[in-house]
């Protein structure tokens, strides 16, 4: 095997940030190379240099022995480099074939778009690489897994033989992930392509890659043969200290029912039915996890329970009191706290300080008010300082604007505030989305602490591992209906995956 790509002392500097610091790395022809690291470690920056989006401030890049001098995506594509971004760049109303040829369309008589030829070319590609997909289907009608396949086909159509995949499995079910890995193995084996995969799911690194590079704080801290390392070793390389991941001790026995949902019907933003007849209950001292692919009603369900969305039919009971149709404030008063799915739009006031954000919900408490109306700033700041320490929030202090903080720290602000209410009920949505491994560990420990202290927790997460790690019981949602309920230790991820796609045994989808 020869060096396909060589980074030589590459540094990339943005104002105030050294995103890549003196990185030297060779990637071999025909291998699957995994690049792992926490958020902000510089993985994407490095790949953006390879794809021509960034021009490095120092160092050289060689592709197939040739020094790269012109950094632009167009030049990179000409060099045979293809990149599939985390968020797909497809036109939903176009067919698969139209999306694939977009930018290099076959033409009739030199002017008119030749749809027949586009579909023919697509079919040829599909056959050649074995990536099954219907060329005439509209992209909006196909599953996320297939959309990703279209993205890969698009790069192949443009002649890529080096493929960069940025967090490719973030939106996939376990089955789809397996299929993707199958595809990767095949194109590497049969077409001798080189695949670079950016990820932070370590078991995937173990499953698919030949070699792995670990990045931390802009530096490449190690390159290893995958067979020589294990997940624990990789995690500690990423974080820079040992990560104790299987240390969540669940204690106590479930108590009374604290959340009761009865035959709930909720609509989504377009007014279409999103939750269709869901009933569930959560007891004190247990975590009920919701496993579902995005867009199957889990967001609307949690919003309805917490009062953020209108309930069309059915009932929600929180701590024994009917909460149906109440405002979020009234439901909070019943003893519920809520870590919302989208922290930027719902969980914080971006332009307010950390201190102001931590206070929300407690602002009327006596200790923060003099004469019942004057806000005691010094008491507020002292209180904020306390939470800041306790939840290990890192930033420029309690007067920082929350919007300027990293995703993980912003989430810590939200979690610190919501957990500080010490309510018997917690509704938690996507607790670690966009959060790095170190912080993830922290959130998981906190959630289990609350559970062991007797809180009833309803959890929804796109990260199936997280659902498994934290939950006592798991329900699967598909198209707004519950398709299964399981004890977390009595089912595997693969089985759950079937229920999440409505094909599980006895599913009534």
């Amino acid at each position: 095997m020869t060096d396909e790509i060589r980074f030589e002392h590459i540094s990339m500097e943005f104002p105030g940030v050294l995103a890549n610091d003196d990185i030297s790395l060779s990637i071999r022809n025909g291998e699957v190379f995994a690049l792992v690291g926490e958020n902000g470690a510089g993985k994407s920056t490095l790949m953006n240099i390879l794809y021509g989006i960034n021009t490095p401030t120092a160092g050289n890049l060689y592709v197939r022995g040739e020094k790269v001098t012109d950094f632009s995506p167009k030049a990179a594509i000409d060099r045979g480099i293809g990149m599939v971004h985390q968020h797909f760049m497809l036109v939903p109303s176009f067919t698969v074939a139209q999306n694939i040829v977009l930018g290099r369309e076959p033409k009739n008589a030199g002017v008119l778009f030749d749809n027949k030829k586009a579909e023919k070319l697509t079919r040829e590609l599909v056959k050649e690489y074995g990536l099954e997909v219907d060329p005439s289907a509209e992209v909006r009608d196909i599953s996320v897994g297939l959309q990703q396949r279209v993205e890969i086909l698009k790069t192949l159509y443009r002649g890529a033989d080096i493929l960069i995949l940025d967090e490719p499995t973030a939106v996939l079910t376990p089955q789809e992930t397996d299929e993707l890995f199958e595809v990767i193995r095949r194109i590497v084996r049969e077409k001798e392509m080189t695949v670079i995969i950016i990820t932070h799911k370590l078991y995937e690194v173990m499953a698919i890659s030949d070699r792995v590079g670990v990045m931390r704080q802009g530096k490449l801290v190690g390159v290893e043969n995958t067979c020589d390392v294990d997940e624990k070793k990789l995690a500690s390389m990423m974080v820079g200290r040992p990560v104790l991941f299987d240390h969540l001790e669940k204690t106590g026995t479930p108590g009374d029912v604290a959340i009761e949902v009865d035959d709930l019907y909720v609509a989504d933003n377009r007014g279409l039915p999103a939750v269709r007849g869901v009933s569930l209950s959560v007891r004190k001292g247990e975590v009920l996890g919701i496993a579902a692919i995005e867009g199957n009603g889990q967001s609307e369900l949690l919003e309805a329970i917490t009062g953020m969305r209108k309930i069309n039919r059915g009932h929600v009971t929180v701590c024994g009191t009917d909460a149906t149709g109440k405002t979020p404030g009234e439901i909070r008063a019943l003893g519920l706290s809520h870590v919302p799915e989208d922290r930027l739009s719902t969980g914080v006031d971006k332009v307010a300080s950390v201190s102001d954000n931590l206070l929300v919900g407690k602002q009327k408490e006596k200790r923060f008010n003099l004469f019942g109306f004057h806000q005691r700033r010094s008491t507020v700041d002292r209180y904020a300082e306390e939470l800041y320490e306790k939840f290990d929030i890192r930033g420029a202090g309690i007067h920082t604007e929350v919007g300027s903080m990293s995703g993980g720290n912003m989430q810590k602000v939200v979690v610190a505030r919501e957990f500080s209410f010490d309510t018997p009920v917690l509704v938690i949505s996507q607790p670690t989305r966009g959060v790095d491994i170190g912080a993830m560990e922290f959130f998981h420990t906190r959630i289990i602490e609350q559970r062991n202290a007797g809180a009833a927790i309803l959890l929804s997460s796109a990260d199936l591992d997280e659902v498994f790690r934290l939950s006592d019981r798991i329900i699967t949602l598909y198209e707004g209906k519950i398709t299964g309920e399981f004890k977390a230790d009595e089912i595997t991820k693969e089985e759950i995956g079937l229920y999440m796609t409505g094909t599980g045994e006895g599913a009534k989808a």
Binding site: L18, M308, P328, G329, P340, S345, D349, V360, G361, D381
Partner: protein
């Protein structure tokens, strides 16, 4: 909140004012007059006599109260463009109450006039407020339309049924009820004392109280406020009503203090819109609103002085427009300053790392 004083804003304001004065000077020079003499006349126009100082203060008071009224709404996330209508209706009702109660002791009549003005201003703001909250009707559109309704209502009543006599030009406020003039033959009256108290109160409520804090969160992110259990809808309506009440009160001050007679165009010549400009330049912050009101009042009264050397009053509008234009770029100016500073810091950082060998973590 311990926030360092915002020098960036002050610098941008000084730059804007300087640019405005320079452009003004250029235009004055083009029309063949001496900019120095013109600006001299501007200063003279304000400070040469007590009367003009009084007029300037009164005008600053009007701008300041209108600007603060706008601040109150904006803080909770509702943009009151209808202050002009609220002001006019407040003035109309207050002057009508004055004529109706003629003969009653001022200790009763004046509070009644104030209450009437405040009530009608608040009510007139309540309508767009509740429409926004309940039906999501854009308040900018409703308030602008309601301004027109208010103007025509005022013209009708002042020239029609509520006119004191056939020969009167409008609704005359009885002599006994007028605010005491503080500087002889100027517009400045004791209303400025109430205004000062009110200004302090608004600043205090917005900056120092728990309600002000809740308003700020609601204005910044209404979804978050609702999520956190703040009664956001109610706050938005309340802020709008208070804004309208303040505008109504300004109308009452205009007729009972400066004008003494209700004639639509004299009571307010789009003064609320100037106050709104002030609030925008002040980025809806109370303290800058006060300062900028004073600056604009000086420019306006001074511009009248400039007429004595042949410079038309329209120069005031030019100056004001340029300041607004520059302040609109304030964020850009600030970002440019910050970027340059960060770049220097980054360069230093990299140098230090290279010299220091391995970076410490």
């Amino acid at each position: 909140m311990k926030k360092r004083f915002d020098y960036g804003y002050l610098i941008a304001l000084v730059i804007s004012l300087s640019v405005a004065l320079l452009i003004g000077a250029g235009i004055i020079a083009i029309t063949g007059r001496s900019p120095l003499r013109a600006y001299g006349a501007l200063i003279d126009g304000v400070f040469s006599s007590w009367r003009h100082i009084g007029d300037t203060l009164e005008y600053a008071m009007v701008l300041c109260l209108c600007g603060l009224a706008c601040d109150v709404g904006s803080r909770a996330g509702i943009f009151n463009v209808g202050g002009e209508g609220q002001l006019l209706l407040g003035a109309l009702v207050a002057s009508r109450i004055g004529t109706l109660m003629d003969g009653v002791t001022p200790w009763l009549a004046i509070p009644c006039a104030i209450l009437g003005a405040v009530a009608v201003g608040g009510f007139y703001a309540f309508i767009p407020g509740i429409l926004k909250v309940k039906l999501k009707v854009n308040e900018v559109i409703t308030t602008i339309m309601m301004n027109s309704i208010a103007v025509f209502l005022c013209v009708y009543f002042a020239k029609g049924p509520w006119k004191n006599s056939v020969n009167a030009e409008g609704i005359i406020v009885p002599e006994a009820y007028r605010f005491t003039t503080l500087i002889r033959s100027s517009n400045l009256s004791t209303a400025i004392i109430i205004s000062a108290v009110l200004t302090f109160l608004v600043w205090y409520i917005l900056q120092k109280t728990t309600k002000g804090y809740e308003m700020r969160l609601t204005g910044d992110n209404p979804r978050f406020a609702r999520f956190a259990g703040i009664k956001a809808d109610r706050l938005v309506i309340a802020a709008m009503v208070v804004s309208g009440m303040m505008c109504g009160l300004v109308g009452m001050f205009r007729v009972y203090g400066a004008e003494r007679i209700f004639k639509t165009t004299a009571v307010s010549n789009e003064y609320y819109f100037e106050g709104l400009m002030v609030a925008m330049i002040a980025q809806y912050q109370p303290l800058p609103t006060i300062i900028i009101s004073l600056i604009f009042a000086i420019l306006k009264i001074g511009a009248m002085g400039m007429q004595s050397v042949g410079v038309p009053i329209q120069i005031y509008w030019i100056l004001q427009t340029v300041v607004i234009f520059c302040m609109a770029g304030e964020k850009g100016i600030r970002a440019a300053i910050r970027k340059a500073r960060e770049k220097r810091a980054a360069e230093r950082d990299v140098l230090a790392r290279r010299e220091g060998g391995t970076a410490n973590e």
